[in-house]
Symmetry: C2
Subunit: 213 residues, 2 copies
DNA sequence: ATCGACAATGAACGATCATTCACTTAAGCA
DNA sequence: TGCTTAAGTGAATGATCGTTCATTGTCGAT
């Protein structure tokens, strides 16, 4: 029956909603107190849900935090995957490659991608050995599609400029630069300037690929 | 009396030795279990000292971890302060400035400065809100003497090359690049290549200051 | 030999932790 | 209306947390 399935779907929605509320509350608690201060009591208080809920939906507190790490990574991946998907398979012209890189800079330092919450949590997860060893794919710089995309752009631009150094090295420099500026944001979120960060990236790209930035 | 003072000094040495043993043990525990897993019991087990020792020497566990953070920062500062002290006050010639930057790259990625332990702990401390807010000076990239030094070098080299972009921006790019490569090391300590990292820095410097690297 | 000063010890403590589970509530179905 | 199933609840539990403090050990001074 239609009503039965609908009801079941509503149930499912409620369940997922509670999961989301718990994940969100956990993120807020970690934001304020760090992973070491993320206790069941605090998460319960923050979420407004009952105490048993956490173990009901996530089996254990550690698992909840693990799933939050996965969740955050997926969100970040989605953000730039949406970005890279707009590019054609091959970045044919150097002008196009340059535009792609410029767009990447602007994406990576946009409020949506880089903010106090995402930065704090990223660094919090990176610091926990157990979460870091969770396996490849989470909060990674190496071996990602993003890295491949940057490498492609650098390859095209290096050829166009006849630049010294191989594209892989240049790509790694750009990836690391982004990473380093993220760190700067994390350490000084209030003094940090998004425009300035993009300008630093642009200046660097300009040095690597003169005439294209 | 001489013997009295000597004895007192010996006592003092023993006390400091225990402090050091505790700091070292705490570092090892954080290395394996993160800040959230650094408990008195584990530190006690690791150090081989008695349980009460921690509160005797450090008042509280939180204070012990705080002092470890201070200790680690001092060690890192000493490492590159030893490096910058070899430079003259003013980096007069561009050749000299280039050599200084190159030396900085080699210092920053040397085993003595960057290793699993230093990286893990740095990231662990950065992730804890309480430790991060400990005040300026610890584990900082901005506003340090190191930053000033790099800025000076960039200033001289920019003038010599007639480069686009102001020295401050270039300096920030180099500092961030170092930071980002540290992050890469932290995430992939076994795949990381020190030589490659230095090469990435050299390539970037070469792009900023053609002819000097 | 005795004493005073102080480092060192670890059993004991109350607080807080994550987790459990008997129970309540709600909703679809016959 | 009862029955079945599953979500939600929170008091109770035992483990582990950081800290305390009465006691012991050490050693120079008297």
């Amino acid at each position: 029956m239609a009503s039965a399935e609908e009801a079941k779907k509503k149930r499912k929605v409620d369940k997922d909603l509670h999961r989301e509320v718990l994940l969100d509350a956990t993120a807020s608690v970690i934001l304020r107190h760090g992973v070491s201060g993320a206790t069941i009591s605090r998460i319960q208080e923050e979420s407004g849900l009952s105490r048993g809920m956490i173990n009901l939906h996530f089996q254990s507190k550690d698992n909840l935090i693990r799933e939050l790490a996965v969740h955050m990574t997926r969100e970040y991946n989605a953000a730039w995957q949406n970005f890279t998907s707009q590019a054609p398979e091959e970045v044919s012209t150097p002008e196009h490659a340059a535009a792609r890189l410029q767009a990447l800079f602007e994406t990576d330092f946009s409020e949506a991608v880089l903010n106090k919450r995402s930065a704090r949590l990223t660094f919090a997860f990176r610091a926990e050995p157990e979460l870091q060893a969770l396996g490849t794919g989470y909060i990674e710089t190496r071996g990602t599609d993003l890295h491949d995309h940057v490498r492609n752009c650098c390859h095209v631009l290096c050829q166009a400029c006849g630049t010294h150094g191989d594209p892989e090295t240049v790509a790694m420099a750009i990836m690391s630069l982004l990473e380093g500026l993220w760190t700067d944001f994390h350490a000084h979120p209030d003094e940090f300037s998004r425009e300035n960060a993009i300008e630093i990236c642009r200046t660097t790209a300009c040095a690597f690929f003169p005439g294209y930035f």
